[in-house]
Amino acid sequence: MLLIHCPWCGLRAETEFRCAGPVKPPRSEFIDKSDEAWLEYLYQADNRRGILEEYWCHEKGCGEWFKLRRDTATHEIMDGDTDS
């Protein structure tokens, strides 16, 4: 079991959390530009080996959203950060 450090609740079990995928620039940066930019926002994810910055939600706990960095090859979790 992975333990994830929620910035509000401390170390908790992975099953309490939900991952919402890699961090992207805000939608406003895509939506009014072009069809291609919008399709890019819809479909493209940073699908690669290595450390990704992701949105996570402590869904079955405090319900807060935060960002953390995770290695997609090993599932190792780096420190989270709270400014989101």
Binding site: A13, P22, E40, Q44, A45, A73, H75
Partner: protein, 420 residues
């Protein structure tokens, strides 16, 4: 097929007489040539099947399959070997049923025993959601003339006598569905059979060659690849590299709409025969079959939340899968799991595969094959058609990448987790 050593009962007896010292390697291990008509990157089932059908159906023999490790060492060797065609959309049903039909004739065609066992797959359904989902599949498939039928709870129990007694079920069995032609096949044999078949047509299988760069001409078209075993010139480069598709495509600055998620499987200790069908339970997120060695091969649901390339599993999913398994089969509670492994499934945004040319001239992609083992024959056949003729095979015409910009999605769902 031509092969300097066809296998038959006579070669087997001959081998026995000569203490099995007469067998030759089933494929060559050649040095890469300077130039090929087509280079396929990825020596898994799809890559090798593509090479085989390029040679057999289209007469293109000057083909190389370039593999970073050894052939069949990636997801072709990590799946649970189930073949079936009970999909949701017309195009998927027809595509995967063609694949199943090709599997049915493959041992004879390749002169290589793929150990196809069409023992049927029974879906045990515990909720109205999955009943509705499977009934929809059955109606769609029957409309296309492909066999798939619903079962009553009694018929489910008749086919799987070892299921938990009714009074112990948290969720009662509402019904089931069955595809009689579904089953399992030997995954390594598929890879080796296609490798041997392709090799006999003169295809070069080049192992331990990692692609490090892709060279392009002034018009942007592919001209050559750089590998750890030297430069290989080609005007047609096809990739079927499973989890690595996005990474290889990034060498030509192409971004593919793909995500990789973790899936894991387990094998129990060998036991006496208890199950003669493949069992799938979408509501508990577990499926299993009894292998010829006596081990139960158990698969769980995809961990479709986090991008993952890890070749291992995760304990929460193990726990979920095992608790689902024990709910269906309480008698397995003392069974020991011997091995456990995981791998990455590659998904396109809409859950359907991508068999497509790209905006880079001479660069073809076969990707998004989560559950791609059952698709190997049709995937190879249609990809070969696309590469050889530069137009999609009618069966895979909807699998082009342009569907993401024209919004012609082919939403497809798995059977282990209900999607509706």
């Amino acid at each position: 097929m031509r092969s300097d050593q066809r296998y038959s009962i006579f070669t087997l007896i001959g081998g026995a007489v000569r203490a099995h010292r007469n067998w030759k390697p089933a494929w060559r291990n050649p040095q890469p040539k300077k130039q090929y008509d087509v280079v396929i990157v990825g020596g898994g089932g799809h890559g090798l099947a593509t090479a085989y059908y390029l040679a057999k159906n289209h007469g293109i023999h000057n083909v190389a399959v370039v593999e970073r490790n050894w052939i069949g060492g990636g997801n072709s060797g990590r799946n649970t070997a189930v073949v079936r065609s009970n999909y949701l959309r017309d195009i998927s049903i027809q595509f995967f049923d063609k694949s199943l039909q090709l599997y049915e004739g493959l041992s004879r065609e390749l002169n290589y025993n793929i150990m196809l066992s069409q023992r049927s797959e029974v879906d045990v359904l515990l909720t109205t959601v999955s009943m509705r989902n499977m009934r929809r599949r059955a109606l769609n498939m029957n409309r296309l003339g492909i066999e798939f039928q619903m079962l009553t709870p009694d018929q489910v129990r008749q086919r799987i006598p070892i299921l938990a007694p009714m009074e112990n079920c948290r969720l009662p069995i509402l019904g089931g569905s069955v595809q009689e032609r579904a089953g399992i096949a030997r995954h390594d044999a598929i890879v080796w059979g296609y490798a041997r078949g392709a090799d006999s047509y003169g295809v070069d299988i080049i192992q331990n060659a990692e692609v490090t760069a892709i060279r392009r001409g002034e018009d942007g078209a592919v001209t050559a690849i750089e590998t750890s075993r030297g430069r290989i010139k080609t005007n047609k480069l096809a990739i079927a590299t499973g989890n690595e598709n996005a990474a290889v495509a990034s060498l030509v600055d192409l971004r593919l709409p793909l995500r990789c998620y973790n899936l894991q499987a387990f094998v129990s200790e060998p036991i006496k025969p208890v199950l003669d069908v493949v069992v799938n339970c979408p509501d508990l997120g577990v499926y299993l079959s009894h292998s010829d060695k006596g081990e139960l091969v158990i698969g769980g649901a995809t961990d479709a939340q986090q991008i993952s390339f890890r070749k291992g599993g995760k304990f929460p999913m193990l726990e979920d899968t095992v608790s689902g398994l024990l709910e269906l089969f309480p008698s397995f509670r003392r069974l020991k799991l011997m091995r456990q492994w995981g791998g990455a499934l590659e998904f396109a945004q809409d859950g359907s595969p991508i068999v497509s040319a790209t905006e880079v001239k001479g660069f073809y992609v076969s990707a998004g094959w989560w559950g791609g083992f059952k698709a190997i024959p049709a995937g190879g056949m249609t990809f070969a058609h696309l590469i050889a003729r530069d137009e999609p095979h009618p069966l895979a015409a909807g699998y082009g990448m342009e569907r993401f910009s024209t919004l012609n999605y082919l939403l497809e769902g798995g059977t282990t987790v209900p999607t509706d």
